[in-house]
């Protein structure tokens, strides 16, 4: 039987509790990994590794947390995503909610795309495709 959205969220929550040392009640769908849950760069590696183990999936490098966009001058200028950059970002992160980001597509706002919902959406899509 395929995992329900609730099952997936519960397991993502367990991963974040273990990886970041946060309490379960801090892990809401809207919580951002960096701002709300205190994730640092090395934690993203840890999260990817734990998700792979928990869901028995392979997460190619850069697929969940894109790495090659922010440093590309075609995509970012003066701290803001260009039109091409926004298109590229949306292609790379179809699992993220861009509604707030679209109003001010600044690089400084990019961490807000990495929410618990983003992770859960990604895992759900990954499991469905498997």
């Amino acid at each position: 039987m395929p995992a329900t959205r609730e099952d997936v969220f519960k397991q993502v929550e367990e991963v974040l509790v273990d990886a970041l040392g946060v309490d379960e009640d801090e892990v809401s769908e809207d919580a951002t990994l960096q701002g709300d849950l205190g994730a640092e760069s090395i934690d993203f590696l840890d999260i990817v590794f734990r998700l792979e183990k928990k869901f028995s999936i392979k997460i190619p490098r850069g697929e969940l947390f894109p790495e090659d966009i922010v440093n590309n001058p075609d995509y970012v200028a003066d701290g803001k995503f260009t039109e091409a950059g926004i298109i590229r970002l949306k292609e790379a992160m179809p699992h993220a909610d861009f509604s707030a980001f679209d109003k001010a597509p600044n690089v400084s706002k990019m961490p807000e795309l990495f929410t618990v919902r983003t992770l859960t959406n990604y895992i759900e899509a990954k499991l469905q495709a498997a």
Binding site: I42, D43, L45, D46, F49
Partner: protein, 166 residues
């Protein structure tokens, strides 16, 4: 006035390797003795090896395994203690064994899973993440030499290999 006692503290928390399989796994032992100053300082009247030093012993075992896998080209830095659980302590007279398995490794990082045994009985688990830091890392001002893998660490592995005829 007494002349200053000059010596270099040896920051080495394993005594020898007992197993080393390149790119896969390693084991090292640490014998705890009453002669070590630090075993007297952690808990009054109860000498024991402070658990953070068991984590350090595991990190040295795992770090050398990670470093050797890529030919000691990069500095291998302990980046995160993913998990450290201990059910008991190491006390004077005990022989601790750190066993480590390399879970994953790539250009930027490595992950290891380790278990701690005391006189053969498992007393803990330590999972670690290491970062690979090359001398070319632009964001860091690093020495030009490999500052992690000096002679002390390399000799540990060399002596093990001589002993087993590898």
């Amino acid at each position: 006035m007494e002349p200053a006692l000059l010596y270099t503290m040896r920051w080495i928390w394993i005594d020898t390797f007992t197993e080393f399989e390149s790119g896969k796994k390693a084991s090292a032992v640490k014998n705890v003795t009453l002669a070590e100053e630090h075993v007297h300082d952690y808990a009054p009247a109860y000498p024991l090896l402070p658990p953070p030093l068991m984590i350090e012993g595991m990190a040295q075992t795992a770090g050398i395994l990670v470093g050797e896998t890529r030919g000691f080209r990069e500095n291998v830095i302990l980046a995160k203690i993913r998990r450290a659980v201990f059910d008991d302590y190491g006390r004077p007279g005990d022989r601790l064994t750190y066993t480590v398995v390399l879970d994953s490794i790539d250009d930027t990082a490595a992950m290891t899973h380790g278990e701690v045994f005391r006189n053969g009985d498992k007393i803990g688990e330590v999972d670690l993440i290491f970062s690979h830091v090359g001398q070319s890392s632009a964001e860091l001002e690093l020495p030009s030499h490999n500052f992690v893998f000096g002679d002390t660490f390399l000799d540990l592995l060399k002596n093990y290999r001589i002993r087993v005829g590898d």
